[in-house]
């Protein structure tokens, strides 16, 4: 892939986009984040795709794990939300639904009544050893608490896949693998299934992309909190050619990568960044998971926000995961990672608004990235 840099600080442009027909999907930490963002701004979305992700605020399942809230949430994330030993030690969907209702009553998220009409794709590989299937099952039960009809939920748990997003590229990892880059070959594109389920009848994906990748500045969406955000300097967006020329986009799909999948990810070996041996998959999530081909055929914009791994910043997030347990909180006694005010959620939604022209800013030349 060649990166054709043109400008210094590219800004995310605005387009003509149909309102509130947006969707979001993600893998692993991107899936956990998908659920948080989906609930925080449910009025903006029409559906969500969750690959190996747990229910809303599951990191708060058992507060008595540690004395400081942030420590308790981190342990909940690891041992209840990802690797519970039994179904009884998995997140309790009913209790988390009650917590969501309380959050709604506190005015921190959009009305939960929005969820009843949403389309949901929820997937857990039967060979996933990173996020256990019983957690993902709790996610399905969680959404059911809000009246999402059974026909709107596509729940898949019988594919022998490891922890990954599945593609149709034979050079990707074997299907049952549980290793980075967490992109496995399964003979189909999971991204296509997600978009088809959310938007209904879609045209088949294109063979050759007509549109452009734009690299944009993420820092402008973080304000003075960039040090806490654990987000990369740049995000990416795929814009079909017709949309770039003024056609109305059907919506924006936000695609959230998982841990160790952001473009800036550097592996940490014994606590040190392995900057001499960069992993070869920096932009693979953006370019090879199939979202763009389907988006191109159907005038969808795909937004790829990027998390940043760092072991010595204030976020303590070496794997570049999205924040679904509170690491971006300035106050470790009261992490706020699940609401419209959460740093990453706020930033990503501001990107969505910008794409739709909701925030007026001075337009500048974006950086075009050739995928050839």
């Amino acid at each position: 892939m060649s990166l054709g840099m043109k400008s210094e600080t590219p800004k995310l442009p605005s387009y003509n986009v149909q309102a509130n027909q947006h969707s979001i999907s993600g893998l692993s930490s991107g899936a956990f984040m998908t659920v948080q963002l989906h609930l925080a701004y449910s009025s903006s979305f029409t559906g969500a795709g969750i690959i190996a992700g747990g229910p809303y605020r599951c990191a708060e399942s058992f507060r008595n794990t540690a004395m400081i809230a942030a420590d308790a949430y981190a342990m909940n994330a690891l041992y209840i939300c990802m690797a519970p030993l039994t179904p009884r030690t998995a997140p309790n969907a009913e209790r988390l639904a009650a917590l969501a209702r309380q959050t709604e009553a506190d005015g921190k998220i959009d009305p939960l009544s929005n969820l009843a009409k949403q389309k949901l794709y929820i997937f857990t590989g039967s060979k996933d050893s990173v996020v256990e299937s019983k957690v993902v099952h709790a996610t399905k039960r969680f959404y059911e608490q809000f009246g999402v009809p059974a026909g709107n939920i596509k729940y898949i748990d019988n594919v022998p896949a490891g922890h990954s997003i599945i593609t149709d590229h034979v050079e990707d990892s074997p299907l049952d693998m549980n290793q980075p880059p967490y992109i496995n070959y399964g003979g189909f594109f999971q991204s296509h299934d997600i978009l088809r389920h959310i938007y209904g009848d879609l045209k088949p994906p294109v063979q050759h992309l007509s549109g452009r990748f734009l690299r944009f500045d993420q820092a402008e969406f973080l304000g003075g909190d960039a040090a806490y955000a654990s987000m990369s300097p740049f995000g990416y967006v795929y814009v079909p050619d017709a949309v770039a020329k003024g056609a109305r986009a059907r919506g924006v799909h936000i695609a959230l990568h998982g841990c160790k999948q952001g473009y800036g990810y550097i592996n940490y070996v014994m606590g040190l960044p392995d900057s001499a041996n960069q992993p070869p998959y920096g932009n693979r999530y953006i370019t090879t998971t199939g979202y763009n081909e389907m988006a191109d055929a159907n005038n969808l914009i795909v937004l790829y926000p990027q998390a940043l791994g760092d072991d010595d910043n204030q976020a303590q997030n070496p794997d570049g995961c999205w924040d679904w347990w509170g690491y971006t909180a300035k106050n470790p006694k009261d992490p706020d990672y699940y609401s419209r005010d959460a740093l990453q959620i706020r930033a990503i939604h501001a990107m969505l608004e910008r794409l739709c022209g909701g925030i007026q800013t001075t337009k500048t030349q974006s950086t075009e990235v050739s995928a050839s």
Binding site: S61, F62, N64, T65, A66, M67, D71, M75, N76, L78, Y79, I80, A83, P84, L85, T86, R88, T89, N92, S129, M270
Partner: protein
């Protein structure tokens, strides 16, 4: 490598050793305090779980409680088995690497390979220690969560 070359390199090696250590901000007290904080959390969690277990026992173990405990035991056994298999794979690969000395035909290659063998062994030991510690924490957190949930259920049932 010739003896002359080695002699020429010796002053460089001594120079490198003689350099003052770089300044760091490592404070041993911080490490001790962090260890204490983590251990304290563990103690508090363990004490709470023990108390909850005693309260649960006082209310009697019903078949579902016994079944869930057995299920947890099975899960722990399965996790440990999976970890052990991973460690065994690691040590097998290490033994194969350590057995191949044929290509180490220069002093630098030989030293590199010996260091690699040592480093790989250390990495494997570190991984085992981290895995065991993780599994132990997983059991502690999950058991404490489970017992608190069971106790809450029993208390609620008694009220109804």
């Amino acid at each position: 490598m010739s003896a002359t070359k080695l002699q020429n390199m010796l002053p460089l090696a001594i120079f490198a050793i003689a350099q003052p250590a770089p300044k760091t901000n490592i404070v041993p007290l911080d490490h001790a305090l962090k260890a204490h904080a983590v251990a304290s959390d563990r103690l508090v969690r363990g004490t709470a779980a023990t108390l909850a277990t005693m309260q649960l026992a006082a209310r009697g173990f019903d078949p579902s409680t016994i079944l869930e405990l057995a299920e947890m035991q099975d899960a722990v056994r399965a996790r440990y088995k999976a970890l052990s298999e991973g460690w065994m794979k690691g040590w097998t690969a290490w033994a194969q690497y350590a057995d191949q000395l044929k290509g180490a035909n220069t002093m630098s290659k030989f030293v590199e390979r010996e260091c690699n063998i040592l480093g790989q062994a250390m990495t494997l030991v570190m991984k085992q220690a981290t895995d065991i510690s993780g599994l132990q924490e997983n059991i502690e957190v999950d058991y404490a969560y489970w017992v608190s949930e069971k106790l809450a259920e029993k208390k609620l049932a008694a009220l109804l």
